[in-house]
């Protein structure tokens, strides 16, 4: 490989980030884009600071909804995924149905939830819970299949009892898959809650976006958008760091066991929203 005179990719990314922030500040100031379309970064941050209590409590509401949806989606999704993935008959019967259903934009179900549960947190939780549920279940079902059955034969040959086989072999072997499920579920729950709050809500960060947009208060809109951006990025970074530390025994790269099993297509585990 020729000695690279190009800057390292890391550097380039940081440079792009800095450039974006600078543009965010200078472009509106210089008048190249009206403040309505793009309020300057400083204005956005000022508004965020002055209205901190509003944004803070909205964030808490959103986080609460995310947490509960995650409970439903990951708890149910991982459990069901393990069962469907582990039982060949169920899997063969049901998986094609689920992957057909994947084609339907779940967002069209949201009005049903607002009609049933009203405009409060329940409809968000129900929606985000279901939104995150299926990908987590599919991912877990696929991941469970990657566990080498020889592990159990070896354990038996070493005299492991049934409960030892479960606790000392099956559970550690499933960790990468479970972890992927958690990471995916959380990311999708955040997206689901945000979309729901933007569509029909009375509280939460997404609601603040819509509220301020209708009154054309761009700095406040962008302040809310910035918070959402930071929330999802922070979640992504935190879970990946955690994953690296807990699963340090994996070969290079992220959850290779889980990823290998998860799908042949790179896009099955990502969100459409």
């Amino acid at each position: 490989m020729k000695p690279s005179r190009l800057p390292s990719p890391q550097r380039v990314r940081w440079a792009m980030l800095v450039a974006t922030l600078l543009a965010w500040e200078l472009v509106p100031r210089a008048g190249w884009l009206p403040e309505l379309f793009l309020p300057s970064l400083s204005k956005t941050l000022l508004v965020l600071g002055s209205d901190w209590s509003i944004y803070g409590s909205a964030l808490l509401i959103t986080l609460g909804e995310v947490a509960i949806s995650m409970l439903i989606a990951c708890g149910g999704g991982i459990a069901l995924g393990a069962i469907v993935g582990g039982l060949a008959r169920l899997r063969v019967l049901l998986m094609p149905i689920f992957s057909s259903l994947y084609a339907v934009p779940i967002v069209i179900l949201y009005p049903v939830f607002t009609a049933w549960f009203g405009v409060g947190p329940e409809s968000k939780i129900a929606f985000a819970g279901i939104y995150a549920f299926f990908p987590v279940m599919l991912s877990t079902a696929a991941g469970i299949r990657t566990i080498d059955p020889q592990y159990l034969v070896a354990a038996r040959s070493m005299g492991a009892t049934l409960s030892q086989q479960v606790t000392r072999v099956i559970i550690p072997a499933s960790l990468p898959t479970v972890f992927t499920g958690l990471r995916l579920g959380g990311a999708l729950a955040i997206i689901g809650v945000v979309v729901a709050e933007m569509l029909t809500a009375a509280a939460g960060i997404g609601y603040l976006v819509t509220l301020n947009r209708t009154i054309l208060d761009s700095p406040r809109v962008f302040a809310a958008l910035l918070m959402i951006l930071l929330l999802s990025i922070a979640y992504d970074i935190a879970t990946r760091k955690l994953e690296r530390r807990l699963l340090s025994w994996q070969p290079a790269g992220r959850s290779t066991i889980a990823m290998r099993g998860a799908s042949s297509s790179p896009t099955t585990n990502v969100s459409a929203a």
Partner: protein, 250 residues
């Protein structure tokens, strides 16, 4: 289980679900105001499909879906191939793509509205925007999936660049390309729906939103059934094509 038995089992499962959907509300086990019986939903659907207002909405939504798709596919493919071909660009941009997928892209919707207003262009632009990323990622994966050995063999026989592309890359990538189209359409459709439900005066998404607001449950469910049917139909057709082209894949 043989394939026939499997298909029958799934059909039976589906029939059981629909039957429950019909009977449970009728017997008032479930509140029929919240969940109208399947039969009622179907007749509402039938009525709706006769109305010009609904035809218009379907036309608008279809147009948005198509135009966004036509923009996103070439754009995403170009960028994706670029990233696959130039490793440096790949090294810079690939880690970013993972972040892109964790972010709710719907947060950009207000920006599109601010710029375009609530118009056809705004919805198309938003949907194209979200779909491009998926196409990009898939295209990159597609190109990278062509095994080096295939390329080496062809080159050792003196294949020109054009021949390489036509005779090696494209046949090798064909199943994956079809999968890309299938999955991009799912994302595209979702994008259009979100845009229409968020802020729009036209389109099926808008209709569904307003039916929900007005508690017109039979119509709401009819709309959902219609959209689901179209989405699944498209998905399965492309999947069938994919399978026919994939018989050489392990």
């Amino acid at each position: 289980m043989t394939r026939l038995r499997l298909a029958l089992s799934r059909a039976a499962l589906l029939a059981a679900v629909l039957l429950a959907w019909d009977l449970l509300p009728r017997w008032e086990v479930i509140n029929p105001a919240l969940l109208p019986p399947f039969g009622e939903v179907m007749s509402a659907l039938w009525t709706l499909l006769q109305r010009p207002k609904v035809h218009d909405a379907i036309a608008v939504t279809s147009a948005e879906v198509l135009v966004a798709f036509i923009i996103a596919i070439p754009l995403g493919t170009l960028l994706g191939v670029l990233i696959a071909e130039k490793p440096y660009l790949g090294a810079v941009f690939k880690p970013l793509l993972f972040y892109v997928f964790s972010i709710p892209k719907s947060i950009f919707l207000p920006m599109f509205i601010l710029v375009f207003g609530i118009t056809f262009a705004q919805k198309v632009a938003y949907a194209a925007f979200t779909t491009t990323f998926v196409v990009l990622m898939s295209a990159t994966a597609c190109v990278e999936s062509v095994k080096n050995e295939y390329i080496e063999v062809a080159r050792s026989y003196g294949a020109t660049r054009r021949q390489l592309i036509l005779r090696v890359y494209i046949p090798s990538m064909l199943p994956m390309l079809l999968e890309t189209i299938r999955i991009s359409m799912i994302f595209n459709f979702t994008g259009v729906m979100i845009a229409e439900m968020y802020a729009s005066r036209t389109g099926i998404g808008h209709l569904i939103g307003s039916w929900g607001e007005n508690f017109q449950m039979p119509q709401l469910f009819a709309g959902i059934v219609l959209l689901s049917a179209i989405a699944i139909l498209f998905n399965e057709s492309v999947r069938w094509l994919e399978e026919r082209c994939s018989n050489w894949r392990t």
